[in-house]
């Protein structure tokens, strides 16, 4: 086990220096598609954070207590994805129950969290990096907050940009990707403060 790093270091690293979206470019699909309005992206950000925090724990438990002892590590993709899928299904039912607003504005992107690569990415990274349960939880939570932070800032920028004149050829996905690149550059300013591997 990698005991070397404190959970709070991992937590902050996951938000800033190693932001899953802006340094690994994982979870781009919904990042580009649901970042038009701050309100919706807050909803999606919260949903992704919640899913990340919980699935990283569930997947850690499944990995540590089922896959490792049985020597089935090579089945981890299947098991991780099944766990994530079931969890998102539960979350969908809960959101539909609690908020029609959020449910209808997230639309198709709620089930698509299942295949948000940031979520599988976090589970795989934590396994590769040999995190403890506590570290995994904070890594998942931090990654989720980092992802939410990135999509909410993007939505804020895009909302402002709705009134500005974007060159025709760049409108839509083009300018969004450029902004994502600039945001990634800005986040690079944090790099070196904490090192996690």
């Amino acid at each position: 086990m990698n005991q070397g790093i404190a959970f709070y270091a991992i937590f902050f690293a996951a938000i800033f220096t190693n932001n899953i979206l802006l340094t690994n470019y994982l979870g781009m699909c919904s990042f580009l598609a649901v970042s038009r309005e701050v309100k919706t992206s807050q909803g999606l950000g919260m949903a992704v954070t919640f899913v990340l925090a919980v699935t990283s724990v569930l997947n850690w438990l499944a990995y540590r207590y089922i896959l490792l002892p049985l020597d089935l590590v090579y089945l981890r993709y299947i098991v991780f994805i099944v766990i994530i899928a079931a969890f998102v299904q539960l979350l969908e039912m809960i959101i539909e129950r609690v908020s029609d607003q959020l449910y209808s504005s997230l639309g198709i992107f709620l089930p698509l969290i299942t295949v948000n690569c940031a979520i599988l990415g976090v589970s795989l990274f934590m396994v590769i990096r040999n995190y403890t349960l506590i570290n995994s939880f904070f890594y998942g939570l931090g990654s989720g907050i980092g992802w939410a932070l990135a999509i909410i800032s993007m939505a804020g920028i895009r909302q402002k940009m709705a009134k500005s004149r974007v060159p025709k050829g760049l409108a839509g996905a083009g300018i969004t990707l450029i902004i994502a690149g600039l945001m990634a550059l800005a986040f690079m300013g944090f790099s070196g403060m904490i090192k996690i591997t």
Binding site: A62, L72, D100, Q101
Partner: protein
Amino acid sequence: MPLAQLLIGIGAICGVSTVLAIITMIADATIANYGEVTITINEEKDVKVAGGKPLLGSLMEEKIFIPSACGGRGSCGLCKVKVTSDVGDYLPTELPWITDEEKQDNIRLSCQLKLKKDIAIKIPDELFNVREFQTEVASLKDLTYDIKEVTLKLVEPSEINFKAGQYIQLQVPEYELSKESVYRAYSAASPPSIKDSIQLEIRLVPNGICTTYVFDHLKVGDSITINGPYGEFFLRESQRDIVFIAGGSGMAPIKSILHDMQEKSISRNATYFFGARSVRDLFLVDEMKGLEKALSNFRFVPALSEPLEEDNWKGETGLITEVLDRHLKSGENTEAYLCGSPGMIDASVKALTANGIPEELIYYDKFA
């Protein structure tokens, strides 16, 4: 090792999946279970339905039919209902269809509103008169290469009362293109005086759920369920001149209105502009010519936008809006009735208002 390893692997995956499936099923029975919900209609009638489903569909199961052209996808904006109890804020999917005044009245789109608790609604009394009819296909006739005339004989109830110009909804059963039955709106082409059958004109929409069913599966003698009548598209009582505009299967309600005028001896000045691409898109021309003789002040003006050379077309050419510009002298004392695609309607409304017909005297049925 291989067999044991295989069994352990399968066992592990099955075990994990089983546990997750059980948890999800428990959630479905608890979190996603909304129990029974009571809908109070016009403060006089209570119906109990299973919760969690959209209001439109639940009312339909109770044989109360709110008009809807798209079948509950939220793309026609017709199924508006006044809600008098608190059901939460408007959903993003409703907002494009709701005006500010309607918001004050708490008018909601019933296909988007999911029933989670008891609800009180107000609907126009005549919707209680909307009924479901069992019918039998009496005849199928090709009007053009892509428009079919479908005649349905009413079985139970055996008579329908409607106003010329109104529409019914046709229920398409489950079949290969659609896992659930869907409803599509079609105007009656037959006049109201024929009560024991109803005629529809259906144009083939490539891959359309309903039109594919009608064109490829429907046979004479088949049973089909319809409900109706609905709609505000009927001839207003006045002494104004009338302009009818239609294209394609938009012929149906106009034909019904014209026959109705003939039977009631209404001899107002009327001009019917029928837009088509080329001669092969024209139909019922003889019947319209016959109506010109029967109704002394009626004129039928077919116009082709892209006549082919072999058509030898001597009549009007150009887009329907150009033809309108040529024919409308002044819009004074004129009202207009339009039926067709949203594009055609929007363009025609523009041309009509530009020629002096006020918007409140332009009536239309938009079929997307």
